[in-house]
Symmetry: C2
Subunit: 418 residues, 2 copies
């Protein structure tokens, strides 16, 4: 394959993770090492930064700060949720992207994100091919949800899973200190796939985890749930339950919406409503005479770089680096994916999957990894997930608080005269 000289642009898209910046570091550091690459740009707020010609010259950054990106959570360049229309319907955005690519001689486009972002990446890739503009396009996987198709797992998942399992082990200690018992409901992210909620099973496997786990992969039956929690409460007094924010009933209605019309009035005459955890707490309080507490891990679970998985961080960096190397070698129109070697020892390498195969698809937890009762995980899930949380990653500390990357963010448009 012939050498393609030109600039790189890299964008971050979708919800933050603890390691999306680690992939950015991988892309930037590798791209800055490649002779074929003439400039390295980072788009502000993903595809929007390209449309608005707002992107930074990463070559102007201090190499130490780029290195710090590996332990800086969230999206240092800014993220976006922006769905490109189909080019057949409306070509405006595509024409603008092509214009910007030409203006800056951008020949490499790397896009880091989940399902929707791979759709963006795929559309840009196909348009450039059709327009006859030579540009190598590569998706870099990212999502705490771990639901990208075509890859064994996704960067971002291992760190979030390690945070969730560790935090639950701590809450487990806390939630049983009084002798009157307590029911604790933990709400974990994941709208359609239960991988994150399932990571609570790692805490259970370590002896300090939830008794019951409810995933969005199976329809949620409220009466069954109440009976299962109550049975355990009567038996052992302390009950911990992990629920995915995305659980739905058999009619496809989110349980978190139940609170909005249950019009439940508590003993003080107050209507009680809220998110999923507080909805379930309020429902249980009507049925079980117990101390019941809801905890929502909220944003904390996706930005906890201080409790990162070293495996996850290293693989996130690798995904970024490999995207650049594959593209420089001549590959285009792919997403970098992970393939796990068979056997008891965890080994993992990158491979390529077609962008059009990945876009807009979701990977869910196989039914056979969930127990018969639909309220817990089986050993194959533990065997799958435990290797992904191995090793500790944390930012360097200043005054015992994290020192995150500080980018200068020099706008490329202020530097380039074409």
């Amino acid at each position: 394959m012939s050498e393609l000289k030109g600039a790189v642009i890299f964008g971050q898209s979708g919800g933050p993770t603890a390691v999306i910046n680690a992939s950015a570091a991988g892309v930037f550091q590798e791209a800055l090492r490649q002779k074929a690459i003439t400039a390295v740009y980072g788009a502000a707020h993903g595809i929007k930064g390209i449309l608005e010609e707002k992107f930074y010259d990463m070559g102007k950054e201090d190499p130490y700060e780029l290195e710090l990106l590996k332990t800086t959570p969230s999206s240092a360049l800014g993220s976006v949720r922006y769905k490109l229309k189909n080019a057949e319907e409306d070509e405006t955005d595509y024409k603008r992207i092509l214009e910007v690519f030409k203006k800056y001689n951008i020949r490499y486009f790397f896009y880091n994100g989940g399902n929707d972002s791979m759709d963006t990446c795929n559309k840009v890739s196909k348009y450039m091919q059709q327009a006859g503009y030579e540009c190598r396009v590569m998706g870099v996987p990212k999502t705490i949800d771990n639901d990208l198709w075509g890859t064994d797992h996704c960067p971002g998942y291992g760190s979030a899973a390690r945070y969730i399992a560790t935090s639950i082990m701590e809450v487990y200690q806390d939630a049983r200190v009084y002798d009157q018992g307590q029911i604790t409901i933990l709400e974990i992210m994941g709208r359609n796939a239960g991988w994150l909620t399932a990571s609570s099973a790692l805490a259970a496997d370590a002896g300090c985890g939830p008794d019951l786990i409810y995933l969005p992969e199976l329809p949620f039956d409220l009466d069954k749930f109440i009976a299962e929690v109550n049975d355990l409460y009567q038996k052992q007094k302390n009950v911990i339950v992990a629920v995915s924010e995305g659980i739905k009933d058999k009619d496809g209605r989110y349980i978190s919406e139940y609170g909005q019309d249950l019009a439940y009035t508590d003993s003080f005459g107050h209507v009680q409503l809220g998110g999923l955890a507080s909805t379930l707490v309020n429902i249980l309080k009507q049925k079980i005479d117990a101390k019941i507490r809801g905890i929502e891990f909220s944003l904390l679970q996706r930005c906890a770089a201080h409790l990162g998985s070293r495996t996850d961080v290293d693989e996130a960096v690798l995904a970024g680096e490999m995207a650049v190397r594959y593209a420089v070698e001549g590959k285009t129109d792919y997403m970098v994916a992970f393939e796990r070697a068979a056997g008891p020892v965890y080994k993992c390498q990158t491979k390529l999957v077609n962008l059009s195969e990945v876009a807009n698809k979701e990977k869910k937890i196989p039914r056979e990894w969930i127990n018969e009762a639909g309220n817990g995980l089986k050993q194959p899930f533990i065997d799958y997930a435990l290797p992904l949380i191995q090793g500790a990653s944390a930012p360097p500390m200043e005054n015992s608080l994290p020192r995150f990357a500080k980018l200068k963010k020099v706008l490329a448009s202020e530097l380039v005269t074409l």
Copy 2:
């Protein structure tokens, strides 16, 4: 002072912290080293375990597990919220305690807790004196709230503060990734004293913290709050606000109760209620057209041993050890307290304060450490708090998850034949 031969009993009381078990380790390890001490007992659920004659022989525990207590959060022996009546009103509990003390020849009573627990400790101490039963009584301070009187600070505070500051620095990264802006409301524990909420100022001092901080030390004015948040939002789009769960209006009413009769109906016609963070989110949503998110740190903030302060853990151990040493030397009726040396370098040593001076009192943040506008902290608070979060403490890991202490909990009653 003459040597007093006899057994030790130690109890944990009140809300969990990341380091209450570190003080337990200090007491147990030091007591097991002392020749005068004939047995070392740990009470199940504090004073209740004494009343019910349910306590464990700590000499039967594996020394390695006792060492692991230093990094195991929450109360390994179980905690309690139990208020002893005044002995003049009802002597029942006191007679029972005396009976148990005599039966097991308990001559040393150590009680680890906050304001209420020091009240218990004080009452037991006074009763034993009055009954003429020689027993040395020592309070060991503990509270994430940091509101104990007579001590520079309290074990438990530094670790919770380090967790809060770190988590906020991470949320800060997360809460500004999209370009449309976001208001984030962080709810932090502390009913009457704002020390924990104030620790969010350490994140601000590190450049990634809240813009506004509201403490329970000052009356909370809802209109002023809305105006301050809105002004900042219009100016900078991203606003982070830390609020103490205990903020009250000028009439002494908790703001968290507002949600219960505001009967606020959202745009879908649903009544919206919840804790303080969600109450404030709902109020702001009526006034400001913005993305607004509430996060409650909940139990996570008090049991996060994985992000402990080494200074805090070491001092918690020291407090336990010194309680034993002081008592063996002949001291009684005191709480172990911390005294900070003057000067720029942090140095701290233990001292003793009378239990009756400590019981039921609260220490609040001085007004002059809070800014004029009442929505932030000044440098003297940073100078006070920053040394307390220094150094990292975390449990040893197994499979990259915490390995907490596993106690055998051998009941003393099954061993002792008297």
